[in-house]
């Protein structure tokens, strides 16, 4: 494959996929260690009503209002879960289940009620994403990367996803020490004067922003899979947080690249004519990586537990 084909058709979706995967996997590490891994799942379900409401209010399919709507819905869901958990004294898992299924149902109902035949807004799209369609038609080859005219026609998802990734990295870098301490020993963190509640909320909001940006570009499957699978696989590879973070980024990148390539070219190698869902394939690859890490990783058992129990 040469640059004239690769750059316009595959480079941008590949980069967007990588950025989305890493942006989700990084906060996923902390969520995993804090036993909040399913927040990603909940957020990706509640984003749907947010997007539909934003569409109903503005009447346009534009990234700005939709991301605002999605972020609003995510925050509303987090607050609602907390409220129901406290008011009803229900365990967190069940409270989460009540909220995200209801909000998702509301989103589907709103979608069915509005006339979506004229616009590209449907449940399948929201679930699968459309990574394959984020192509850069104005590029002619590698030289286009230096061509300002062609660059101005880059899919808007690419810079947005890159910005989101930078934001996520900044958040983790800025609060690294506090995040690390409060993740492993919340009580100790509090005695050091770290506002653990605020920090936890910040983490969830960061995760929500990453989820919303990635959701917009690549659909909800990747979001859920990348929040959990790369960090979970990385957990089997290292006992140190730094090591785990590094491994999770590597797993996320490998999942994105391998998944995209397999989805795009795998069927061709097998003699079929059409590609399969890239988002689904990326999730599948991340699952395979997790399976391998869980079977052969050096740190796969609980500390102190003898192997084989």
């Amino acid at each position: 494959m040469n640059g004239a084909e690769f750059v316009p058709l595959s480079l941008t979706p590949l980069l967007i996929g990588i950025f989305a995967a890493v942006a989700c996997a990084l906060p996923g590490n902390f969520l995993l260690l804090r036993r909040q891994a399913l927040i990603g799942d909940a957020i990706s379900h509640v984003v749907l009503p947010g997007i539909v409401v934003a569409f109903l209010l503005t009447g346009v399919i534009a990234a700005g209002p939709m991301m605002l709507g999605a972020a609003g819905a995510a925050i509303a869901a987090v607050i609602l879960i907390e409220l129901i958990r406290r008011l009803g004294r229900i365990e967190p898992g069940a409270a989460m289940g009540v909220v995200f299924t209801t909000m998702f149902a509301g989103g589907v109902l709103l979608l069915e009620q509005t006339d979506t035949s004229t616009v590209h807004l449907d449940v399948e799209h929201a679930l699968y994403g459309n990574l394959e369609s984020l192509i850069w038609l104005d590029a002619t080859g590698w030289a286009s990367l230096l061509d300002p005219v062609a660059l101005s026609y880059l899919p808007a998802e690419l810079p947005r996803m890159a910005l989101t990734l930078i934001g996520v990295i900044l958040f983790i870098a800025l609060f690294w020490r506090s995040l690390k301490i409060s993740t492993f020993d919340e009580g100790f963190a509090r005695t050091l004067g770290i506002r653990t509640n605020l920090l936890g909320l910040g983490l969830v909001i960061t995760a929500a922003i990453a989820a919303v940006a990635a959701f917009d570009a690549v659909g909800s499957i990747i979001v859920i899979a990348m929040f959990i699978c790369p960090p979970a696989a990385a957990r089997m590879m290292s006992n140190r947080l730094e090591g785990q973070l590094g491994w999770s980024v590597a797993f996320a990148v490998v999942s994105a690249v391998l998944g995209y390539v397999l989805a795009g070219y795998g069927p061709l190698w097998l003699g079929a004519t059409d590609a399969v869902s890239a988002a689904g394939m990326i999730a599948t690859v991340s699952g395979l990586l997790l399976a391998i890490a869980a079977r052969f990783g050096p740190c796969r058992h609980r500390a102190g537990a003898p192997a084989g129990i």
């Binding site: 799942d41 009540v98 979970a232 990326i282 991340s286």
Partner: protein
């Protein structure tokens, strides 16, 4: 229109849907309760997402064998197999690795769902069979329910209910106290496996009506709703069945009464409606009851403090205290205590002295622990004990002028 739907007057198909949905609602509500009591509510999320690749693969297999791939029993068998595989992965990850259960749930649900989507796109591009409607498994599609589908759902629902009836004792025991259950010789892991099998059965049966994403709601929400109303586990199970059946029936009726009202989401929203009502109105555990309890407590504290202030001739400024004292005829409008108020105030002060003595006396340790500033001393000590304390305090003293 809605009335007709509620009374099953909307024709054969709508009636079929309503009955099928109600049966599903009852069995999912009851099954979900055990999951909820075992604190594993979200396992249902993993199980339901794990059904998708099975549906797709079953379709492909049936097409390869020369069918049109839409045989419901075949699709359900496929979904059951892949849900089992997902459950096995979930158990393996939780037991054999350091991953916590929530992470394992998330990993299983996202990977299986992703793989299912890959298979669905394969089916789309192959262009074989009649794949239209296969997407219905995502969000449910009841409109086209046939007599055979209804039979599968009714049969599956009845079978799960029967199994639950047989297994309810060990499942309840395991849900509340796994250690005790193990000590009684019950295999906790086997009961857990059976419970998951039941959840899987309900999920597979429910795919056709509410779809694999929303069946989770029918497993979780009725159980949480029922928990508000009772402390007894068998009542929770029963009420969850009622809540699930009621929301499914109402949801099916509402969605039949107008176009563009998809059955699955409407059922879920009905179910949430019942949940919200319970959260607000339930006795003891409800929000309204808690608010009332707080208000009652607040008034008792204010009244008590007001009486003590009266007894010690302090001026009361607090408006709520003044209002409460006046309402009870203990205080005149000009702020002077009535005869009754004086008597009650003196008694309140004397009770404080009595309590002080009780709390300083080792022999009354148990009674002293009950002191919270509000409890009437007569409810804790006998008359003899009180007169003994009074003897030690001495005769009535003058309230300082």
């Amino acid at each position: 229109m809605l009335w007709d739907a509620l009374l099953l007057q909307m024709g054969y198909n709508a009636t079929l849907v309503a009955i099928g949905a109600t049966l599903l609602g009852i069995s999912s509500g009851i099954t979900g309760t055990f999951l909820f009591l075992r604190k594993r509510a979200l396992v249902s999320d993993a199980i339901s997402h794990a059904t998708l690749p099975g549906v797709g693969l079953a379709f492909l297999v049936m097409v390869a064998l020369g069918g049109d791939g839409r045989n419901l029993a075949g699709l359900l068998a496929g979904s059951a197999l892949s849900a089992m595989a997902g459950l096995w992965c979930l158990n393996w990850l939780t037991r054999r690795t350091r991953l916590a259960e929530d992470a394992a749930i998330g990993a299983v649900l996202s990977v299986f769902f992703g793989f299912g989507i890959v298979i669905l796109t394969v089916i789309q591009t192959l262009g074989v069979g009649r794949q239209a409607g296969l997407e219905g498994f995502l969000l449910g599609s009841t409109a086209g329910m046939l007599w055979n589908d209804a039979l599968v759902i009714a049969g599956g629902g009845a079978a799960t209910l029967l199994l639950i009836l047989l297994l309810r004792r060990p499942m309840t025991l395991v849900a509340f106290d796994p250690e005790y259950a193990a000590a009684r010789g019950i295999s906790v892991s086997r009961i857990d496996m059976m419970m998951m099998g039941l959840v899987m059965a309900v999920t597979v049966v429910g795919l056709k009506i509410v779809g694999l994403i929303l069946i989770v709601a029918l497993l979780i929400i009725p159980a949480v709703t029922a928990r508000f109303w009772t402390e007894r586990s068998d009542m929770v199970v029963l009420l969850a069945g009622v809540a699930g059946g009621l929301s499914a029936y109402l949801g099916a009726a509402v969605s039949a009464s107008a176009p563009n009202l998809p059955t699955g989401p409407i059922i879920v929203l009905m179910s949430f409606g019942l949940f919200a009502l319970s959260l607000l109105l339930a006795p003891n555990r409800g929000v309204l009851a808690a608010v009332l309890r707080h208000l009652r407590f607040q008034r008792r504290v204010h009244l008590r403090q007001g009486l003590l202030a009266l007894a010690q001739d302090q001026v009361i400024y607090e408006p709520l205290t003044l209002r409460l004292l006046r309402q009870r005829g203990l205080l005149r409008a000009d702020g002077v205590p009535t005869e009754k108020g004086r008597a009650r105030a003196a008694k309140a002060l004397r009770d404080e002295h009595r309590w002080a003595l009780v709390r300083s006396d080792q022999t009354h340790e148990a009674a002293a622990a009950l002191y919270d500033g509000l409890r009437e001393i007569e409810t804790v000590l006998t008359e003899d004990q009180i007169s003994e304390i009074d003897r030690r305090i001495g005769g009535p003293r003058e309230v300082p002028a």
